[in-house]
């Protein structure tokens, strides 16, 4: 068979043919059949992804000429979208988060939607009349409008009605204008905490399903001091304010001094979500994104209530958690992208969002719609959700939020573990944050 010498030329020729073939196959394999489609980048769990697909299908039925290709984010959307955009493959429509979009806006990644709104005065007027100003202002940075809000994701409390009844406790407030104090909240949480003979908790009064160092700030804010003034591009955050610190300390003491909430060690084998779902926790702090999980637990009889207000505050507030839709500045399909953003953030898309039961709409027409009410028929205190956006305090909007986030994680951690008092934030965290804000 090999009676002829296997020459170098033959070898090189063969290698060349193989190489060319593999390059050809590779480029064919990576070929993009949807090159003309509008790309939509978002982060979602499987259920939320389904809801988004419903909106996309509804959009495509009214806009058959615009094809939409979805790009689902991994666990760190900012990192992913930065890489995409820096590499010249920025998706046309991007989900934007209230705390992090400013970094992209400042770097020129996002389109100023004021230009689109100016060309579409009818939609702009409709949006203005129907929207909640604090939410749309969240994405107004440096004189531009970099996203339109699409859902409210502020925090409130879920509570287990059966556990309240068993303990003989009155139901907590059903609206944001009815206050309950830190003291009332603590007394209630203590009455709902049960322990076995060895002192180990078998039922917790309160659990947190959000990010603890953000929740601590939420309690600080609910003691009468906002996170910062002004909201946009602040040069100082109120981590050195006595009332804010008092609120943070109150939150830390729930797990520490008062033992009405689980410590981090208690949450390693069972998540706070599971504690609430399985009836081992009476109240859970979280946003609407938890609603579907709780409502799937058939034996769980729950409702929602407002956050408690501290002694220095005369009102209870949620936080302006919101995500919006933005358009990439480099998008070659800006007009198509604008049509999609208009649809999803306008009355039709918002009604669909409300009826999905997965998100709280940001337009008044969406929150008051029959679809939203019927999607939440397991709860009675619907006003906690529908009035939530209007009763929300803001978090800072700054391009350097990622650095602030890292500092908060570092410095609030010891306070939550009970290693340091919250007053330590005055000198440690506050100075470090001010330094970052002063010299980003």
């Amino acid at each position: 068979m090999f009676d002829q010498p296997f020459g170098r030329r033959t070898l090189l020729r063969g290698a060349g043919v193989l190489g060319a073939a593999s390059v050809g196959l590779w480029s064919a394999g990576c070929g993009d059949d949807d090159a003309d489609a509008l790309t939509f980048f978002f982060q979602a769990n499987p259920e939320e992804a389904d809801a988004r697909l419903r909106i996309i299908h509804a959009f495509q039925s009214t806009h058959p000429d615009i094809r939409v290709r979805t790009v689902l984010s991994g666990p760190d959307p900012m990192q992913q979208v930065s890489t995409f955009c820096a590499g010249g493959k920025c998706p046309d429509v991007l989900m934007a988060w209230e705390l992090t979009y400013a970094g992209l806006a400042e770097r020129g990644v996002l389109t100023d939607l004021n230009t689109m709104l100016a060309r579409d005065p009818g939609f702009a007027a409709q949006l203005k009349a129907d929207s909640i100003r604090d939410l749309s202002d969240t994405f107004a940075f440096g004189g531009g409008q970099y996203a339109l809000p699409e859902q409210w994701s502020g925090n409130f409390l879920f509570y287990n009605k059966a556990l309240f009844d068993q303990a003989g406790l009155p139901r907590p407030p059903d609206r944001w204008d009815k206050l309950w104090s830190f003291t009332e909240f603590l007394t209630t949480a203590a009455a709902l905490t049960k322990r076995d003979g060895s002192g180990k908790a078998t039922q917790w009064g309160f659990v947190d399903t959000w990010v603890p160092y953000y929740s601590a700030g939420l309690f600080g804010m609910n003691n009468g001091t906002p996170w910062c003034r002004p909201r946009m591009n602040p040069t100082h955050l109120n981590f050195d304010d006595d009332a804010f610190i008092e609120g943070v300390q109150f939150y830390a003491d729930l797990a520490g001094a008062h033992r009405v909430a689980p410590k981090a060690a208690d949450q390693q084998s069972i998540s706070t979500m599971d504690l609430f779902t399985s009836g081992k926790a009476a109240m859970a702090l979280g946003g609407h994104w938890r609603y579907q999980t709780f409502s799937r637990a058939e034996t769980l009889d729950f409702d929602v209530t407002v956050l408690p207000a501290g002694p220095k505050s005369d009102r209870a507030s949620s936080n302006i958690g919101t995500t919006g839709l933005a358009i990439a500045a480099s998008s070659p399909r800006k007009q198509q992208a604008w049509e999609f953003v208009k649809f999803a953030t306008g009355p039709v898309g918002q009604a669909l969002i409300g009826a999905s039961g997965l998100f709280v709409p940001v337009l008044t027409s969406g929150t008051k719609s029959a679809g939203f009410a019927s999607a939440h028929n397991r709860i009675r205190n619907l006003a906690v959700l529908t009035d939530g956006p209007a009763h929300s305090g803001y978090l800072p909007v700054t391009p350097v939020w990622q650095k602030i986030d890292a500092l908060m994680d570092r410095d609030i951690g010891p306070v939550l573990r009970g290693r340091r008092p919250a007053t330590s934030l005055k000198t440690g965290l506050s100075r470090a944050v001010d330094q970052v804000l002063g010299s980003p």
């Binding site: 090999f2 009676d3 010498p5 296997f6 020459g7 170098r8 090189l12 760190d76 900012m78 990192q79 930065s82 890489t83 955009c85 820096a86 970094g103 770097r107 020129g108 990644v109 981090a264 060690a265 208690d266 390693q268 084998s269 069972i270 350097v400 990622q402 650095k403 890292a406 994680d409 570092r410 410095d411 951690g413 010891p414 573990r417």
Partner: protein, 301 residues
């Protein structure tokens, strides 16, 4: 029959063919190693966030790193603790394991294979597996400690213990490679030396200290250098085990995490490049020192 007759090929043609064969590899090295190295050095003198044009800042990144960034000192200290906490136990355990495996026993090959398993497991899988072991409430380790009356240890929740946990995983991961190298070296030690020592009445421990260790000094030095380099570059295990912030608090905030955070979270690629070159300089210095010490002791031998 295959016959490749290149005996008559002129030297020039042979040289050209040689260059042609080496060219793809050289190109790969140039594109994937030399260019990134040069580019990162260039970037270390710039301020660059991927989107806006890079701006020359001279030595500002290095100056800020050394004089104005308290987290650099924290990361350096944590990396040093992690390196020592990995190096010392890993080398000692590897020596013992290699010595145990360097015996002619029935079924020793099975043990040799088992010992090398951690080397085959990916770092991420390792970290996920150890997360279960380190669970405070009902993890394997605390359950076992409970059997002997020791209360639960907050392995991954307390900054101090988190570093201990990290070192334990690193040792577990480093031992197989070190053992392979040391075992190979041990198998090269002439048996006549041991026989002579035995005739002179030397115990097994004495033989190990006076014959084995000095004669595997080169391999030992290699293991030390490689372990230091690996420990200094730690990233994936830390990222999976305790998160991208190097938590809890700054308990596991090592240089690898700091570099990643500045590059991909803060989008400060200039600063991250400066940090990468500082890490390189430290490793280079440590390696030179180690080689010098080894050479000196080899001469003394």
């Amino acid at each position: 029959m295959i016959s490749i007759d290149d005996g008559g090929m002129p030297t020039k043609r042979r040289a050209r063919a040689g260059r042609a064969f080496v060219a793809p590899n050289l190109a790969a090295i140039a594109v994937f190693m030399l260019f990134p190295l040069g580019f990162s050095l260039y970037m270390s003198f710039q301020k660059w966030d991927l989107f806006t044009p890079a701006k020359f800042v001279g030595l500002a990144n290095f100056r800020h790193l050394f004089t104005d960034d308290p987290l650099f000192a924290t990361a350096l200290r944590n990396t040093a603790v992690y390196t020592i906490g990995t190096l010392v136990p890993a080398v000692l355990i590897s020596l013992v394991v290699a010595a145990l495996l360097n015996r002619k026993l029935k079924g020793i090959s099975v043990f040799r294979a088992v010992v090398f398993v951690p080397l085959a497991v990916s770092s991420v899988v390792t970290a996920v597996m150890w997360q279960f072991v380190f669970n405070t409430d009902n993890g394997l380790l605390n359950t076992m400690l409970g059997w002997v009356g020791i209360g639960p240890v907050p392995w991954l929740l307390d900054p101090g213990w988190a570093m201990v946990s990290l070192c334990m995983i690193s040792v577990w991961k480093s031992v197989p490679f070190a053992t392979v190298v040391l075992l190979a070296a041990m198998q090269g030690v002439p048996h006549t030396l041991y026989e002579a020592a035995r005739i002179d009445g030397a115990s097994a421990t004495r033989q190990f200290i006076s014959i084995t260790v000095p004669l595997i000094r080169g391999a030992l030095s290699f293991v030390v250098v490689i372990t230091i380099i690996n420990a200094f570059q730690a990233f994936d295990q830390v990222y999976v085990l305790t998160g991208g912030h190097g938590g809890p608090e700054t308990g596991t905030y090592v240089l690898g995490i700091m570099l990643f955070q500045h590059a991909f979270t803060f989008l400060d690629f200039g600063y991250a490049s400066a940090l990468a070159w500082v890490m390189f300089a430290i490793l280079f210095g440590l390696t030179l020192l180690q080689l010098r010490l080894t050479r000196r002791s080899a001469l003394e031998l």
